[in-house]
């Protein structure tokens, strides 16, 4: 039987795809019709398979993304199916590789999560249990690896350790953090808090109390950085991965929240 947190993960992943599509739609005339040049797959065996738009007529992305949107909407309501999840993953990766300059770490994270979502959506039969359980743990470890990797990359430099990193980011007009440039003490606190959060997350999730604390803190962190830095897909992708770390009861409450809200709003209640 599919667990509530797996179902929540599945639905959130589909909602994320719709969010990413919606954000690109205003610029689709450019982003979905032009050749972006060599993607990261160039020279690998996967280039032909996962970068198909490279070989198709311009505008093919529109067709693929139309199907992608339909599958994403369907996934919000339908029972998880491995083959629909597989098509969704393939269409998403094809789009990501066609429009790679618009991609963020969030798109790359979701490409990974959507791949393992295929395993999570396998039928509820004992011969698939190993694959489903492996996919479950891989998604969980993937989240921890992301935090570990970004922490270790940051520890290679100086700015995150001496607390100047966010002041530097704030002084770059490309990011909407100009207000922080004039508050060096706050910027220093945010810099160290970010580093501490990312460094401790992979440890904190193994104990129920610290897990709840870090998951709640992570929601605040990813929502705020997603909005403030103009990378909402990045923040939202992390929140999708959080679903498999939630207790079953919390996942059930979140899944039932839309129905409960409708019930509250309905005049007969």
């Amino acid at each position: 039987m599919i667990t509530d947190r797996t179902l929540l993960f599945h639905r959130l992943a589909h909602a994320w795809v719709l969010l990413a599509l919606a954000l690109q739609l205003p610029d689709a005339d450019v982003l979905w019709t032009n050749e972006a040049g060599r993607s990261v797959l160039t020279g690998t065996w996967a280039a032909g398979l996962l970068d198909p738009y490279h070989h198709l007529p311009a505008g093919g992305v529109y067709l693929g993304n139309g199907l992608l949107a339909m599958l994403a909407v369907g996934g919000l309501f339908a029972r998880p199916s491995w083959w629909r999840s597989a098509i969704l993953w393939w269409l998403f990766v094809a789009w990501m590789n066609a429009a790679w300059p618009t991609s963020t770490g969030g798109h790359q994270l979701m490409a990974n999560l959507l791949f393992w979502n295929i395993g999570l959506a396998l039928p509820d039969r004992s011969r698939f249990l190993l694959a489903r359980t492996t996919a479950f743990h891989i998604v969980r470890f993937q989240l921890l690896l992301a935090y570990l990797a970004t922490t270790l990359h940051k520890l290679q430099g100086h700015a995150w350790l001496d607390g100047s990193a966010l002041s530097q980011v704030a002084s770059d007009p490309a990011w909407s953090l100009g207000w922080l440039a004039g508050l060096p003490v706050l910027a220093r606190v945010f810099t160290w808090a970010t580093l501490a959060f990312q460094a401790l997350f992979p440890l904190a999730v193994w104990w129920p109390f610290t897990r709840s604390l870090f998951l709640a803190g992570g929601v605040v962190f990813h929502v705020s950085t997603g909005m403030l830095l103009g990378i909402p897909e990045m923040g939202a992708a992390f929140l999708v991965a959080y679903a498999l770390w939630l207790p079953e009861g919390t996942a059930r409450t979140i899944l039932e929240a839309p129905r409960a809200a409708v019930r509250r709003l309905s005049p007969t209640s």
Binding site: D27, G37, A46
Partner: protein, 142 residues
Amino acid sequence: MDRRHRLAMALALGHTLLLAAYVLPTGMVPERAHVIGQAYARPLFHQWWGLFAPDPPACSCDWSVPGRIPPGLVRARALNGLCRHAQALSGCGPGADTCVVPVELAAWVEQLTGHSTGGLGLREACLPDRAPQERPVQADRP
């Protein structure tokens, strides 16, 4: 924990270790492990976790065009990503008088900025004073 669950955990750990060999800083991973991790992860599981790391970029990066650039969140992000990509190219690095970029990259920038009549420039402002500098962009036509 039954045998199947232990096997699933071992497979997941193995996958994660291979990914780690690909995404962790290269100095922390033995060269051979990094090559194996790259062969395993790049085609299907590519990811990069170096945003603002090891240090945030010392220079801002922006395109300069004769006119206004259309607004848009993803468009702005794509332009910034392409600008950073250009900055990292050998023909556009610090100290170069002009910024030489591949034709495809220049074409994308022209499409995204809505200006294809030439006059494209790369504008940057570097720490510590963030004094603005601008260099003309030249498309590399082999």
